[in-house]
Symmetry: D3
């Protein structure tokens, strides 16, 4: 039977030993979305020009958040990231902002957690900046889309977990 | 028409001035869940005894994450929290772990962001500890359930945003 | 003769006791600039639309940096800021970006350090984003412009310390 | 025409991909100064013995600040520094403290930002410790003096940017 | 029978609710020591002049560490400290450096943890700076000496827990 | 005569240059204990089931604290840890909880400081969670037990520094 690797035989939490793993290129892509009222989405879309660039600020928060993942997730290994990319897409029906983040490093463990953490911080920042007009926004479908590198190799989310069908 | 309060008239981001607001008791409750394979849920449930307490660790991460919200969300005001409560519930169909966090402070702004951030870090920690056996887990329905205190008073999420119907 | 207040009689550093001071509204404004090649300034000015919003990102960095001042400056008191405002101005001769930050709190010590720290982080971020095209940029004239509140009351920089004459 | 590398073709900020760069020895030296009243400089000079070691504390702040650069500058890559050196010099006419910091690492990106950040935190700390006697101090001429390593190789600031002529 | 207050009735960790407590002046003093070879102690004592000020740097680390206690201790409430004082004493037989820290705030919870954390970081810093010459140093007798303020009032350590008898 | 390596010839603190050292596997084990009333120890022992898992939370704090050592200890090099292990043992006479932490990395400097820091944060967390019932607890015998790797090779604490004799 499978075991949770973050615990030793006595069930005690540990930061798993990755010292014996070789360094390799690691890439992970995660995604998620935040659903909102149509009027809220309009406010976001009309920004970026004169009214305030919600997504530009959320992107900065995502990149900075990726760098701090190991401070937030207790058993996560610290890693020197070599790349963080964050993009947004507007969906109209239902009204939502979708976020996708790709993180890369050259190291002994993967960067799935960094990609997921960045997506969450991005969507949290969108919530913060729009909450005065729409407290009922919902963050949904935060998940790993793909990872490459390391012993477990290439992994892709099953198609049913794709953003289009999640929303 | 409504405006996004985190921008001035030139569309420039700012940390909104809350100096004129009085201090009052603020409470917020947020929730969310992480969906997974039934076998993954079983591993989590069998823990807490000898195999490792996933939810106990996620709870610590949630509480510590709540305290760091203002470092992660760019325009969020720093606040001295007076209470953080985090609880989990197991759902079988579909298999998921639901998380609920209540945060309180006595201050000039609300603690909605702290409650949402804590929920996200809790679910992210569950993902981290189980990802070796289930990379396809999805974090869903992260949202504010209720807030009290401050000028905007009491707010509750509409019933359709309740966890039962989100899953 | 005047004494440095951050040391006791033995010359040992201390975080000065401000517990006996009353809470009052504190505001501070600081400024500074970064001088650069005319071509670099043009790249910054042409951004904000399609080419990348250097100043928007520097503004976010300034606001987030203000919140972390007490972690960086050893003897600085931690404070719950109630407002951070950051604005930029373009100067053509000599080519430079000027930055001004206003910070406020209601507390027992002033926010001069937070305003200065935010200006520095903003200008450092401009440097970072433009350094691939112009390594010779110089950060200049970082100083306090004005402070209000607290026992020492209102203070304004002498006119000769104004940005116009510094550049 | 030159482009700002921290943005993609759509003008969106990104942490630039450095994964393909080889690791090499990187060194950067930055400098800056803080101008002050002659009496303030005297207080600093008379310290280090019995009255309090302003520059010793500023040096510690500089070293610790260098380590946190990637948390403060949004698009900066995290790096494991292998060396941080910070020295001060007293200038009498005009009265000022000059600071110089050298940082080194073995990595895929340079350490210019770490050296500049350390200089800024050092001077900010001097301001903090002397502000009770001199609020009008001005931080000036913060700039890169030299860098080595990496694809762009060796770079030195032009002589006119030297401290002597800046003050 | 007494209960541990950091857990609810289900045994789940929580940040205890202190919102109903009034704000009052809180002071705590903690102490501890680090025992070492006589030659190591001599190196520390000969510093402060030309050879390097170990205790001056440990003092800065203590003050900065006090400010970060709530980030390190999971269920500790964040507090805006109003005072941190750190002093050292040299003991010859057995050779040791003793450290004492007093912390104060005006708030809803005490500052015992901040005082203890500061002592630990101070002694850890002494270890770091001397470890190249003496790896066998031992940190001992870290404890609370006294606290004032709050519902539980004044508390003093029993005499047998005094440093003199611990060593 | 031996010299403290964290200072240059002028006695100025520096982060020592380790750039010329090769990367090697580094392991360090540290230990320490916290002495308490027998009733307090009983409360801790009865937890882990329904009353709250003090040691489980302290273990998480230890692991997270190890990752932040370089932020707390001024001249400590930042390192990407590859493993952190934390275990506790109950001692009855005198009543105490002993903690042992092993940290590993592949890098240019050792991880002694990370292991010691983790032990201290673990014991500090035990204090925090039990202080409402026992303020007189004392943290003792925090020391390095063993280190491997690096130029100085293998080192073990002398037997008289073993936990059994320290308590």
């Amino acid at each position: 039977m499978k075991e949770l690797t973050h615990f030793n035989h006595a069930g005690e939490a540990q930061m798993v030993d990755v010292g014996a793993k070789g360094e390799s290129e690691r890439v992970a892509t995660a995604a998620g979305c935040i659903r909102m009222q149509p009027e809220t989405l309009q406010l976001i879309q009309s920004g970026g020009h004169s009214k305030g660039d919600v997504l530009g600020i959320a992107r900065v928060a995502a990149i900075m958040g990726a760098k701090r993942t190991a401070e937030l997730v207790p058993l996560c290994h610290p890693l020197a990231l070599t790349r963080v990319d964050c993009s947004f897409e507007i969906a109209d029906a239902p009204p939502a902002v979708a976020c996708q983040v790709t993180v890369a490093t050259r190291g002994r463990t993967g960067v799935e957690m960094e990609a997921l953490c960045a997506v969450q911080i991005a969507l949290l920042t969108v919530y913060d900046m729009c909450k005065a007009v729409d407290r009922g926004m919902v963050i949904d479908a935060v998940r790993l889309l793909e990872k490459r590198g390391g012993r477990s190799g290439h992994w892709r989310a099953a198609p049913e977990a794709d953003p289009g069908t999640e929303a």
